[in-house]
Structure formats: C-alpha cells, structure tokens
C-alpha cells in the first residue's frame, strides 16, 4: 500500500497541469471582484470561504447589481448544484473515513480536484477504499488547487487596484461567461436552454430584487428538459416516416 506521503505528493503533482488554466482565472476573478465594488478583504474571503470559481464570478456580478443577499445565496446554490453529482460519485471512496476527513475533503471538492481524483480512483478501483491511502491523494490534489486559487486571487486583487475604471474591466465578466457558455452548447436542448434563459433575463432585467436571473435560469432549465424529452419522439417519427 502506498504511504500517505507518496499518495499526497502524487495527488499534488497530478493537479499541477490543471493549475495552468486555474491561475489566470483566479487573477481575473480578483480583478473583477474589485471592479464589482467588493473590498480586497471580501474578494479574498470569497475565494477561501466559498472556494467555487463559477459561483464567485456570478456572486461578484450580483453584488455589482446590488442584489439582496438571499437571492445571491439562492443563486449560488443553483450554480453549485452540479457538485451534488461529484459528492455522490466520491462518496463510496470516503465511506470508511471519519467525519473530520469527510468535511475536509468536501470543502476541497471542486470541479478541478474532482476531475483528477475520480480518474485516480477509477484507475485503482481494484483495491477496497479502506485498504488504501487514496484520501491522501485527494487531499494533495485539493490543497494544490486551493493554494493556487488563493494565491492567484491575491495577485488579481493586487493588480486590480492598479487599473483605472475607464478600462471597463467589468466587461471581462461577461466575456468570461461567453467563453464558458460556448462549450456547453453541445446540442439542440442546451442551445434552447441558453436562448430561453437569456431572453427571459433580458425581459425580466427590471424586476425587483434581481429575481430575473433566478427566474430566467429556471425557465432555461425547464425549456432544456422539454426539448430533450421531445427529441427521442421526433427522431422516432422521422424514422417511421422514412
């Protein structure tokens, strides 16, 4: 059985290539959190307390718009719901651990750590989880990402205070989201979800408490599900017609 130390180092090393993509993101977050009007302390605290890239970008945007706190927290919940799948997926591997370990690793369960850890778990699945030190691998990967995220946020904050408002850096947020949304538009149903959510958001932009975003996201999800549900039927019909 590999020692805790060697597992930790292996996990840490496996995470390193991913950091190339994460560090610029952390810096952009730091810059635009200041642009959204957050103090340096609050911007950094969000990286360590929330520790979820996309939710932090959305949160910064909502703070900029003066959104009530309850809506910010609810929106964070919706944006991070996908982590429930990660939680289910790593759960069998953490079953034998004590609550302290479970809480620590849950805190470190980000998209980027999950991707590395689950690959490792699938490779070593012939061993029972309790007879390995693979939780140390998880800890190594998670802490590598955590350190990089905190450091790059700090670098972004330091940079952000040097940049004049006339540079319109708040627009980097919309651009970041554009870059992130494009790869998710893989099929008809996800395009339908995006278009309907965007349209509702534009129409509902004047709604009180910034509820428009939540309602728009929900309608997008429902439209996506409806289009997806209708597709097998349509494909079936085409086949019978042909």
């Amino acid at each position: 059985m590999p020692s805790p130390r060697s597992e930790f180092v292996a996990g840490f090393k496996a995470e390193l290539p991913i950091l190339l993509g994460v560090i610029p993101f952390g810096m952009i977050y730091g810059v635009l959190a200041l642009g959204a009007g957050l103090s340096a302390g609050a911007a950094q605290a969000m990286s360590s307390i929330v520790f979820a890239g996309s939710a932090q970008f959305v949160g910064a945007q909502l703070f900029r718009l003066g959104t009530p706190g309850v809506i910010v927290v609810l929106t964070t919940f919706v944006v991070n719901l996908r982590h429930m799948l990660y939680s289910a997926s790593v759960a069998p591997h953490l079953r034998h651990l004590n609550p302290k370990w479970k809480w620590l690793l849950a805190y470190l369960l980000t998209d980027e750590a999950y991707a590395v850890v689950i690959t490792h778990y699938n490779r070593t699945s012939d061993l029972p989880a309790s007879a390995s030190n693979e939780h140390w691998y998880f800890l190594g990967a998670g802490l590598a990402l955590w350190s990089a995220w905190q450091a790059s946020t700090a670098a972004g904050i330091a940079l952000g205070t040097q940049i004049p408002a006339s540079w319109a850096l708040d627009f980097t947020l919309a651009l970041t989201f554009i870059a992130l949304v494009v790869p998710t538009l893989k099929d008809r149903s996800s395009v339908a979800a995006a278009l309907s959510a965007g349209t509702v958001a534009v129409l509902a932009a004047g709604w009180p408490y910034k509820l428009g975003l939540m309602v728009a996201a929900m309608s997008g999800i429902v439209v996506g599900l409806l289009v997806e549900a209708q597709r097998p039927f349509a494909a079936c019909k085409e086949r019978t017609e042909a």
Partner: protein
C-alpha cells in the same frame, strides 16, 4: 448592505452541497429528473447573465450598431466557439470594446 453574511451564506450553501451525498450516501438518491436538469444549469445561468450585459448595457434595451458591448460580445462568442480558448476570448472581446468605444 454588508457583504460578509452573504459571503458566509454562499460558503455554507456550497459546502452543504459538496458534503451532502458524502454523508447521506445509501440513504437518499438523486432523482433522475434532477440529474438530467443539472446539465442545463451552466448554459441557462451563464446566458441569463450574458444577454442583459450585452443587450442592456446602459440599463435600457439597445439593439443598435452603436452598442459596443453587443458587437464586442458577438465577436468574443465567435472567437470562443472557434478556439475554445478562454483567455483569447477575453482578450479579443476587451480589445474590440476599446477600439469600438474610441470610434
């Protein structure tokens, strides 16, 4: 408004989701409908943020060619689609916004 309780609330919400099934495994299942719905969360949430930013830059609907953010955003969308490169998408979009605003 003080942001600190909100940041704490965001942290608790995020942590609760991540811990949920690690602790509850075997006691609850994620319903299939929720599993399918999760796929649509990123495109729906992101588009709901992007479109008002591009179409209502000054707080009112602006579909004219004078809307620099709309044109820069469309260009960035094309770059993102062709290259799948996040940093390049941001760089091109910002450059376009600066050029269009001085024109």
């Amino acid at each position: 408004m003080t942001v600190w309780p909100v940041i704490l609330g965001m942290g608790v919400a995020t942590f609760a989701i991540r811990l949920s099934l690690i602790v509850l495994l075997g006691r609850v299942d994620v319903p299939p409908l929720v599993q399918r719905a999760l796929r649509f969360v990123p495109p729906a949430v992101l588009s709901a943020i992007i479109l008002p930013e591009l179409l209502r830059p000054g707080g009112t609907l602006d579909l004219s060619l004078g809307n620099a953010r709309l044109l820069a955003g469309l260009l960035a969308g094309v770059v993102g689609w062709r290259t799948k490169n996040v940093l390049l998408t941001i760089a091109v979009g910002m450059a376009a916004l600066w050029v269009l605003s001085v024109m």
